[in-house]
């Protein structure tokens, strides 16, 4: 699967052995993609920062259970990002004190900044994502936005390729309906947006 970033396995192993710099490189490598996914789901830059940070903090906290998919931690991060964005309760609460203590740029609170970023996000697609259930959202995120193959996404999500294909088909249909106005986003996701 050539479109997945290069092998994280060595960096991850070194990170687990206490090489902080290796973990820093993993962060540098995946930070922006995790952030973009978080922004896509939250529609808010401040929240996207928090979701991105929570995902990396969870990556470390849950390091003993993390599964690399085809040599990369990114799928785990993206799925965790989806879960954090949709269920901000447990994980975000766990790290809230730290998140609040980290410094931020003044410009981030500027609404014009979010507007500029909104211009870069396909608003219709973001709204359509809001109509999907969590598993379908995880699948669509991996396949459509991160360009994983259906087989790789299926493996990450513990489903058969056939099930992934079927789910993907239904999700596409649902998103199409949402874009032409037949469906509205689920309250759960709308509630996550602030």
């Amino acid at each position: 699967m050539g479109n997945i970033e290069s092998d994280d396995e060595g960096l991850w192993t070194r990170s687990l052995n206490g090489e902080g710099d290796a973990f820093g490189v993993l962060f540098d490598r995946h930070r922006d993609r995790v952030f973009r996914h978080a922004y896509r789901l939250s529609g808010n830059r401040h929240d996207a920062d928090d979701i991105m940070a929570t995902s990396f903090l969870e990556l470390w906290r849950r390091r003993a259970k993390v599964r690399l998919a085809e040599g990369s931690v990114l799928p785990w991060l993206l799925v965790t990002t989806t879960n954090v964005a949709r269920n901000s309760g447990r994980a975000a609460f766990r790290h809230r004190k730290l998140l609040n203590s980290l410094p931020r740029d003044e410009a981030v609170s500027d609404p014009a900044s979010d507007q500029h970023m909104d211009d870069e996000i396909d608003g219709e697609a973001a709204r359509a994502l809001g109509t999907l259930n969590t598993v379908d959202l995880q699948l669509v995120s991996l396949v459509v936005f991160e360009e994983y193959t259906l087989a790789a996404a299926a493996a990450v999500l513990n489903m058969t390729p056939a099930a992934a294909k079927s789910r993907m088909h239904r999700a596409r249909q649902r998103m199409k309906k949402a874009i032409i106005g037949e469906l509205r986003p689920t309250p759960a996701l709308e509630g996550d947006r602030s």
């Binding site: 922004y39 259970k65 993390v66 785990w76 513990n158």
Partner: protein
Amino acid sequence: MNQLHPDDTFSKALRVELVSRAQKAAPSPARGRTRLWISAGALAGAGVLAGTTVLVTASAPAPPDRSLDASRIIPSLSEPQKDTDKIPATVNPELFSYMMVDPVSRRDIDPTKTRRIGQTSANTYYAAPAGDDYMCMIGVDTKTGTSDGAGCVWLKNFESYGMKSVSPDGKESVWLMVPAGVKNNLESVKDEPGWTQQAPNFLVRDLNK
């Protein structure tokens, strides 16, 4: 969308924090005593770490039962939970959290569905379904009441091998399987002394006795 990036100040501070956490925690505390969980299918759980998991191809062909009914493996699941089936309160409750079983699909272990399946000289073993499609096995140190975590296997793959746990020193092994697989699985370990059938579908090899 390439111009989308996080707050730089926030990001730099977060990076410092992450690097610091990795340096402080070295090496990962659970690694040295992690058990080896073996199954024939997808396997997730606290006992699973990169480099320590071995997936074994089917060794005990049995009539395929693709059912997601966990009681075909643990019949007592169809009966009320007894006090002896409950995991001791001394076990970290995070054991039941979704992340512990599978961070991807968020399957929980329901503490009301644990069942005691057997014991060795050092550990008591429990099994419990997680979500609709996983079966987990949890070993609890009988003296300390603590656990290294759960290993979990897709229910639909249980026929082919079941789930085996081996202690780091190799002196303790337990093997949960479907009842139909017992005969063939016992045959497969006939050259390994010490295996006994402790329950209709639970084999134990305890070399610490």
